[in-house]
């Protein structure tokens, strides 16, 4: 991994003392390569390396560490600081609290809606799932089956002969009325996957935000995303001012550099990670675990 590569860079270093600019330059080449392989965005890697270089030059190597270990510590500390830790969900508002899940196609929103519902249910909240994806075949059925598997009520979107009879804003409107009537305190809205460059669909999300003022707008992102994670996250955030991020499929073996790219771009907390297909495969986000993965 990176540690052994850096140990090689420093193996000809005579004694310890301070980290020279030359030692640092050589080691940062390896770090840069490692971060690019981990899918951290090219431009974000550039900024990161600059900031690590500034922190490292002239630093005295701690007695208990080798120069390589010292560099790794600086990098790791920087990564952990950038990734931050989770922040609590904004669920202190007057009920029903509204949480809306958004993101690209296939990122895991519908599954995550179920996971979040189970998580909040275990916190003794009364959750109502709302299927607002009117495009994907069997999307509503998917959320219905998920709700049934964990005994969470799901809004009955009216359908007739395979045709959905409400638009997303009408669905949410009706669902909120029912939630208020039944005293459900938390509504989770599952929306259709969409490209951030699809203007009509982005307008649909803006409409939902303006009409219903969700307490949380969570961007659900596949942790395996590549270089375009920056532009995707930036666009969703600029359109909707997201309140947080959920990274999915972290149980895979991708290094997950997209986490850093997204966090640095939107400066919003990563709140949870999805770690499997079961609805219980859901954890609160801790930056240090992901930092170690990204470093490889």
């Amino acid at each position: 991994g990176l540690s052994s590569k850096l140990e090689k860079v420093f193996k000809n270093l005579k004694g310890y003392g301070k980290l020279s600019e030359k030692n640092i330059e050589d080691s940062l080449k390896e770090v840069r390569l490692s971060l690019l392989e981990a899918d951290v965005n090219y431009l974000i890697v550039k900024e990161f390396i600059e900031s690590v270089k500034n922190k490292a030059v002239g630093e005295k190597v701690a007695d208990s560490l080798t120069p390589a270990q010292q560099i790794i510590k600086i990098i790791r500390d920087e990564l952990v600081e950038l990734l931050g830790n989770n922040e609590p969900l904004n669920i202190k508002a007057k009920p029903p609290v509204i949480i809306m899940l958004i993101g690209l196609q296939g990122s895991g929103k519908t599954t995550t809606a179920g996971k979040l519902a189970l998580y909040l249910h275990r916190m003794k909240r009364s959750v109502y799932l709302v299927p607002a994806d009117v495009y994907r075949p069997a999307a509503i059925l998917q959320l219905k089956k998920i709700g049934a598997s964990i005994n969470i009520p799901v809004y009955e979107t009216p359908e007739e002969n395979g045709k959905i009879l409400q638009k997303p804003d009408e669905i949410v409107n009706s669902a909120i009325e029912i939630a208020e009537k039944h005293a459900y305190d938390t509504i989770i809205i599952d929306t259709a996957g969409r490209l951030e460059i699809d203007e009509p669909l982005m307008d649909e999300l803006k409409l939902l935000k303006n009409k219903f003022n969700p307490n949380e707008i969570l961007f659900v992102a596949d942790s395996m995303l590549g270089q375009s994670a920056v532009t995707v996250a930036k666009t969703f955030n600029e359109a909707l001012d997201i309140s947080g991020v959920i990274l999915t499929k972290v149980d895979g073996d991708a290094r997950g550099g997209a986490a850093l790219s997204i966090k640095k771009t939107v400066a919003k907390p990563i709140k949870f990670i999805g770690v499997g297909e079961k609805l219980s495969d859901f954890e609160v986000f801790y930056g240090d675990r992901i930092a170690d993965r990204i470093l490889g």
Binding site: A138, M224, Q227, D253
Partner: protein
Amino acid sequence: IFGAGKIDAADIEKIEEALVLSDISYKTAEELIESVKKRLAKNKDLTADIIKQALKDEVGDKISVKFPEIKDGNDKNIFIIVGVNGVGKTTTVGKLGKYYADRGKKVIIAACDTFRAAGKEQIEVWGQRTGIEVVSGKENQDPASVAHDAVQKFKEKDYNILLIDTAGRLHNKKHLMEELAKIKRVISKSYGSEPDEIFIVIDAGLGQNSLVQVEQFKEIVNITGVIVTKLDGSAKGGIIIDIISRMNLPVRFIGTGESPEDISEFSPEIFKDNLL
């Protein structure tokens, strides 16, 4: 971007940035840059256009590998569609059904994702909308047994193409990869020979892990081709260069949207022109 005359370090960095940002692996980006430098070593006046064309030519060299024709021309052909979660397998199976039906083939689809919520209903709706027959089992039925039933029906009737949709699975989940190997064995046994094509679906928006996916799936079920989806998004699909040149696999189709007609045969020409 590029100053007149030689390519300097700043230009190299700009080229490297453009290549890496398109999800080309760092290693391949460096190879492309070295080849372009060699190619343009004798050029006296370098302009941005000359460099760009040299890059396109080098990319073209890497992706214009000659592969055998896709195996869809026999009287009977079986395709299995595999890949990690959410990349677009089910949607692609739906699109391929229409693609081949439009070309006069009699198509049947096997709904072998018996695991995920509404996995089989999703492809059933596609079948209804495109007029393609779908064989599906019961909820949580062993996917291999659904596959077996589908192959039996495929052999008995005059279908030309059997498309098998499978559940998404991460390649690092050993038991799920074993399940896939079993599905393939059962199909081969019922069919009397190996499936004609096993396509892995790759999401153009994902990064370098796609190469690991291709590698790992290939090890377990002998991938014969690749389908890259979501190229209508902002990702450039540079990973295609790595898949073709490093994995030595053909990209057969690309997905460019969520409607039945949003599938087309991969064209190296169109791809390299859109890349830079």
